[in-house]
């Protein structure tokens, strides 16, 4: 298997509602895949299943680790999954408060994954934190400030720094620009694009914002009512949508 993550046949129902209906999706190293759809399409549920935070009723999710060994996510013990989330994977939450420790300083937030991975030199941890703050365009002088003194956009950038400090190969992002105003969104998207390019990250990005998908993603997966209705290269899907739902989506968006 050459893909980083490969999922097939994913199905999940919540009572009468079908959240996922025989969904298949893969992601290769260094590529950005956007999962788009309106609310209720199942895209957030898909992200949770792909990252091991929820279990499907049917289907498989295979993951290839840095050594090349393929693991089945659903059979993975909790310890390994947690270790994965702290090292090779990252998860950026829509609301930065869900992905940050609000009572811990910015430096502590970034340093936590390093310390969890065994880093024991205070000076080195602090230097790495300062470097990452600069990288996500937060003034390193704010290293001891608490996240609640940051604006929403800054909190989100801090969350990204916290997630990327251990150089994960795969990052899941759940509506990272949701709740931010338009100019802040644009800046954040630019930052993400630069980081993805610099670090060769693979990103699974859930968004309802077609423009963000066009800006960041190599490939796009369109979901509606739990099903994948269309997927392919971003420009192709958005410029020449085949499925009527995709056509509806693209025509209701002002082109960037």
């Amino acid at each position: 298997m050459s893909a980083l993550l490969e999922a097939t046949g994913l199905t999940l129902r919540f009572g009468a509602v079908t959240a996922l209906d025989d969904v298949a999706v893969s992601i290769w190293p260094g590529e950005v895949v956007a999962i788009v759809g309106e609310s209720g399409s199942g895209k957030s549920t898909l992200l949770r299943v792909l990252s091991g935070l929820a279990g499907p009723e049917a289907g498989t999710v295979l993951y290839r680790d840095p050594d090349g060994t393929v693991h089945s996510l659903l059979d993975m013990p909790e310890a390994s999954l947690r270790r994965l989330h702290r090292s090779d994977w990252g998860f950026v939450h829509q609301n930065p408060r869900d992905g940050l420790r609000m009572g811990i300083s910015a430096g502590g937030n970034i340093g936590e994954r390093l310390m969890a991975a065994g880093s024991r030199h205070y000076g080195a941890i602090r230097a790495a934190a300062a470097e990452w703050l600069a990288r996500v365009e937060i003034d390193p002088a704010r290293i001891d400030a608490l996240p609640r003194t940051f604006s929403g956009g800054m909190q989100q950038r801090l969350q990204i720094a916290r997630t990327l400090v251990t150089h994960p190969r795969l990052v899941f992002m759940d509506e990272p620009t949701g709740g931010l105003d338009v100019s802040v969104q644009a800046r954040l998207l630019d930052l993400i694009r630069a980081l993805v390019a610099d670090l060769g990250l693979a990103v699974l990005l859930v968004t309802h914002d077609i423009a963000a998908a066009r800006l960041l993603a190599h490939r796009i997966v369109v979901m509606r009512r739990g099903q994948v209705v269309e997927q392919g290269l971003t420009d192709r899907v958005l410029d020449d949508p085949q499925h009527e739902y995709t056509q509806l989506l693209t025509t209701s968006v002002l082109s960037a």
Partner: protein
């Protein structure tokens, strides 16, 4: 066997002692790991040493000699109370000399006199969970220990240094046992932490109210958490014992008047008395 007072030897019934011993065996097999046990209501209140008492009651035998200290002293009210309790329900010999004891039950201190193989040190523990201030939910801390997920504790130390330049923990300073489990050494002053490392005696920890037991077998590595560039440093008052002249032991501060007058004396009364007697003998 029953004593004259009508209680079973050591107060607890034999099944309870067996249950506690099983917990102790598990604890010794997994150094630093907290083992839940069915703590019983004792005639002393929860928080006053019931865990330590239950552990002592389960390991004590008629040939043992028991020493009980609180804050390092044998004559503090709670130490007196507990010693009397065992004298009554176990009829064992008691002593104030650390060297003569086979079992030492302690609250908040490790004796200054180094312990030997064959001795048992029983610690009274109020809060067995080293992570409780960061995460009060027991279900979550159990998971953290199982997965060796101790990042938050290191983050706390980082925050202390970032805020004040120092790690801000004084007593109950967390330690790594056998390189695997994060453990609370009980509210001993951090000064005493180095004594736990590779101690020749068996160390047993009992938390009655929280209902957990843990242990450090003899000669086990016990390391206080720190950073390479902010290493752990034990602290004590920079003073000399006014009674025996020790500059090494942990000292109690005694306020002598309301104008700021103070003096310092050894917290470990047996150690201090022994030194004083030796000094007098030499004169």
């Amino acid at each position: 066997m029953t004593t004259a007072t009508g209680y079973n030897f050591g107060y607890l019934d034999e099944n309870t002692k067996r249950m506690i011993r099983r917990a102790l065996l598990k604890a010794v097999a997994i150094p630093g790991h907290q083992v839940p046990f069915g703590s019983r209501e004792m005639p002393l209140p929860y928080g006053w040493g019931t865990g330590g008492i239950q552990v002592t009651a389960s390991v004590i035998g008629p040939s043992d000699t028991l020493k009980v200290i609180d804050q390092g002293a044998d004559d503090t009210t709670n130490a007196v109370s507990i010693r009397r309790f065992f004298a009554k329900v176990a009829g064992v010999a008691t002593t104030e000399r650390t060297t003569d004891a086979t079992i030492i039950q302690t609250r908040h201190r490790v004796p200054e006199t180094p312990l030997r193989e064959g001795q048992i040190l029983v610690y009274q523990v109020p809060m067995p969970e080293p992570l409780f201030k960061l995460e009060p939910r027991v279900a979550e801390t159990r998971r953290m220990h199982a997965l060796a997920d101790y990042g938050p504790m290191h983050v706390k130390l980082y925050e202390d240094i970032a805020r004040t330049g120092h790690i801000a923990i004084s007593y109950n300073y967390p330690v790594m046992v056998g390189g695997r489990y994060l453990m609370s050494p009980s509210p001993i002053p951090s000064f005493d932490n180095p004594k736990l490392d590779r101690m020749a005696a068996l160390q047993l920890f009992g938390a009655g109210r929280e209902k957990r037991i843990y242990a450090v077998p003899p000669y086990t590595a016990v390391k206080s958490l720190d950073f390479e560039d902010h290493p752990f440093r034990p602290i004590r008052a920079d003073a000399t014992c006014a009674l025996c002249g020790s500059r090494e032991s942990y000292l109690d501060e005694v306020v002598t008047d309301d104008a700021g007058g103070r003096m310092f004396v050894c917290s470990d009364t047996d150690y201090c008395n022994t030194r004083q007697a030796a000094r007098e003998a030499a004169e």
